[in-house]
Symmetry: C2
Subunit: 190 residues, 2 copies
């Protein structure tokens, strides 16, 4: 489970969550953030701040390890524009886009920093033009949670060999039941 | 986009959603159901009935086509037991299980009907023993939505070439913006 974090090949692979209605979207946005962490993004940016979401991600990181830069309350259009002007590229996940398997090799081959935009219900048209790639994970409606997981899976060729440094707990995969290893302080980064 | 539905290789690939707290889980359960449809399950079974979730899936099917058997209000332990006694096999998705890439070839090679169990927050220990396979999609916490998508993706080797019969709308993939084709009545099943 050791090795480079897969995002390091691009320096940064960040996820930008557009919109967020705290009452309605709390759990979906939390799941998006957890997917970002588990499938190898190293940053999570929210347009709207929600303490419940952020505390939930931080708690996960404290227990299960890993590093992720967390930011909230950004103006998303400025954020995207700065990302591009600093040499990064922008991938917008949308069911209207180009099928992921047709385009992901091009995206994976470019060494640029990657910002993956994940929208809430309605995404303003401007993002379709700002994005370098509008990418579809199936052209059917499903979920930003699954779309992000499949996109990161394809970007990294299914290699989620992430080293979760600082973890306090680690699962020992098992055919039946739950086996969890508690990691003592000092051993955490081994 | 035509051809057999991928679930047909096994006759049935059903998803069983355990638990469901209507206020808290409405959107997550809806996303689980949409993932089931978009990634090639042909049945969705809920322990707890929730009209909002069911109407949302039915609306999606009416617009975007496809077929999915929808059932709710089942006793999940009896349901799982019947599934097994009728010759089907049961896959429980859990972060404590065996990594999907180690076990999916065995599952894909067996022609048995497949019931995929997707839990809400806490899953009773009995399911770990009832399941033929406890399968982990990463051993990290993320989401039942992404876990189901990745599992179905692996089961079908990334082939989501589902024929969505009866669709009224179909997306034409595009690099920018949204292109949607309206399908006239009578043409729908072509």
């Amino acid at each position: 489970m050791k090795g480079r974090h897969p995002a390091e090949a691009y320096d940064k692979v960040f996820v930008l969550r557009l919109g967020h209605r705290p009452l309605r979207d709390k759990r979906i946005t939390t799941h998006v953030a957890l997917v970002a962490r588990a499938f190898g993004a190293n940053g999570f940016v929210m347009e709207v701040c929600d303490d419940a979401v952020i505390s939930s991600i931080k708690k996960t990181i404290a227990t299960w390890g890993g590093k992720m830069e967390i930011t909230c309350g950004v103006d998303p259009i400025s954020y995207v524009s700065s990302w591009k002007s600093e040499g990064g590229e922008v991938i917008h996940l949308t069911m209207y886009g180009i099928p992921v398997d047709e385009i992901v090799d091009v995206i994976a081959a470019s060494v640029k920093r990657k910002l993956i935009i994940v929208g809430a219900e309605k995404v303003e048209p401007v993002y379709y033009s700002l994005a370098d790639y509008n990418v579809a994970i199936t052209n059917q409606p499903h979920s930003e949670v699954s779309a992000l997981a499949i996109f990161l899976d394809r970007l990294y060729r299914g290699r989620w060999d992430i080293s979760y440094e600082g973890a306090r707990l680690r699962i020992v995969p098992s055919a039946r039941g739950k086996k969890v290893m508690r990691i003592e302080r000092g051993e955490a980064d081994k």
